[in-house]
Symmetry: C2
Subunit: 339 residues, 2 copies
DNA sequence: CATCATTTTGCATAGGTGTGCAAAACGAAC
DNA sequence: GTTCGTTTTGCACACCTATGCAAAATGATG
């Protein structure tokens, strides 16, 4: 015998009270007597009643759903962030609805449509190029947006990033201090602000020390592109002795290519530095020197930002920058070894 | 000027038709004339109208939301599956609502409550020990459940797994053919059917060849546990010359420990085999021999199973097993080298 | 033009919940 | 017991959409 859906009316009937009484018992802060609350709770438990979030959303205008837009999950930074975001939001009574948007342009537009269809209370966009039109539409619909680990110029969008310029600068300084002579950069996608910032911070720090990168190649955040880039670099007449890679995900491909395709030793022949400090970077197989993006803090900031904007729509968008340290590991020469 | 939510009534007013007409235009297969459809679509576009999925769900009983329950995302198998599941479901007009359930018992119960609150149309449970109570409650609520990469005895739950016994058996046979003398197993969590099946398939294949494993240790699906296990194994008076690890995630920790903590060579000193064939396994840094779990096929099967049960609630639960090949890589001695 | 079959449209209601408002219950003070 | 202030409760409606039903429109046929 398959149960029909049990509603607040069923509970009300069993408890011998009105439907609104049931509603109030399940609404924190509503006016209910202890006696009534007990009656209702007993009836609800015996029927297995739980309020229907979707019906509730109709009337409160709060779906308790946060849309998460993400492109790929093969870069460990994102599943890691997703897990933390989901846990943080779960604790606040929200849940994450996942939207994959690998492409750009029309595909992203379709995703936005679907986001609006589900009446999400807010949007977290990670790792995806969002058109300005997105900002426009979400703003018009009154849905707060937080860009996670992705910058954007539009002032209506909040964002949380690490201090990419400072991080890249620290990398440059460390490589110089390590006595490296020919320093190259395989950058993150040059179409992304994150990629640009890291590249610019890195190059400007080199210049401040009177140096120039021997090469800057766009790695597109893709393993194969990074792998090809490092092959090209090492085929130069005077190959680099240090490479800063735009994120860990690409850096792992660079390490593999250097060691196993080109037969080189890291850091003896080349030092390699990444960005993100995903858990993998600490594994001995990579032992990658990298800039930590403190995902805990970034998640916390993103969630707070979103919650504030949901509670008070007048709240204006903010652009937060979180500092992260350079983590020294075995993929770069220790500074003592400087010649 | 912040827009109020635009409803089908607004569209109807602008187009000079009834609300039901608008609804019909957005309901595939409803009876509408071409003229009317055009009028409505124009009005809808100019207002930026899109049907409210949540309000629709009230009346159709279909939320177009699938709940995904998952414990951790640090084992790459799961983000990979999540991405594929999300894409497959997105193509069918569904989206994934994420529920993290690291713990067991009461925490899982809370998750079930929340799943029901959101009126999900179906549930995919990956990597979590679900009590029989789950089956009970979801069955009562009429919500189909598919266990992904996780077995369960309850006949009411559908499940999709790879052929864990056959896969483990193939590993055993390959290790024997490779001339290994002392074969050990670091198993998946012995509380999971998946872990048990792999262990049993492996051990029974050894016995069929007149062999016994030198040791079987529970690795709990955790890196640290696996790392400790391999240290214990290699500290034995006669350490193993081959280790089958219950999944790739643990196998990576085993490789790191063997190479960098114990200074051993793989596969010269010890052969290592994993299970899953996550993308990482093919990276040169690991080059791990492993049993492939064809996540594409598993996802496809899981989605089909779920869709069938959603469309026809009378459809009975199925337990599907997908075959996966042993992928030979550099972490095991080639069979030609057998002495 | 009349008739009828068919398609299209509007009306009205349902789906499950929260909330403003007024009525009812309660409790205190005289 | 009466009065008044406070808390609790129920009534009725709103939120946004889909759909059964009957009325209207359309088109084909005689």
């Amino acid at each position: 015998m398959r149960d029909r859906k049990v509603t607040s009316l069923d509970v009300a009937a069993l408890a011998g009270v009105s439907q609104s009484a049931v509603s109030r018992v399940f609404t924190p802060g509503a006016s209910v007597s202890e006696k009534m609350a007990k009656k209702v709770r007993d009836a609800a438990n015996s029927l297995g009643y739980r309020p229907n979030v979707l019906a509730r959303s109709l009337i409160t205008g709060q779906s308790k759903i946060i849309g998460l837009v993400v492109a790929y999950l093969d870069n460990q930074f994102y599943p890691d962030a997703l897990e933390k975001l989901s846990n943080a939001l779960q604790a606040k009574g929200y849940h994450i609805l996942v939207f994959m948007a690998s492409g750009t342009g029309p595909e992203v537009d379709r995703v936005i449509d679907e986001l609006l269809d589900y009446q999400v209370d807010g949007i977290i966009a990670a790792s995806v190029g969002l058109s300005d039109e997105l900002a426009q539409r979400c703003d018009a619909a009154g849905i707060p947006v937080v860009l996670f680990n992705r910058g954007q110029t539009d002032a209506r969008l909040s964002q949380v990033t690490s201090d990419n310029r400072a991080g890249a600068r620290a990398v440059a300084e460390h490589l110089i201090a390590g006595g490296h002579e020919r320093i190259a950069h395989i950058s993150g996608w040059s179409g992304s602000l994150t990629g640009q910032d890291r590249a610019e911070g890195f190059v400007s720090a080199l210049r401040d020390a009177g140096r120039e990168p021997v090469a800057v190649i766009d790695g597109m955040y893709r393993r194969e592109a990074a792998s090809q880039a490092v092959r090209d670099l090492m085929a130069m007449p005077e190959p680099p002795d240090a490479i800063f890679v735009g994120n860990d995900h690409m850096a792992f491909a660079v390490l593999d290519t250097l060691r196993f395709d080109l037969g080189l030793s890291v850091p003896n022949d080349v030092s390699v530095v990444g960005y993100d400090d995903v858990p993998l970077a600490a594994w001995k197989a990579f032992d990658l020197t990298t800039v930590r993006q403190p995902s805990n803090k970034m998640v916390e900031a993103a969630v707070n930002l979103l919650m504030n904007q949901i509670e008070d729509p007048a709240e204006l968008a903010q652009k937060l920058t979180i500092e992260g340290p350079l983590i020294l590991r075995g993929s770069t020469r220790p500074v003592e070894d400087a010649r």
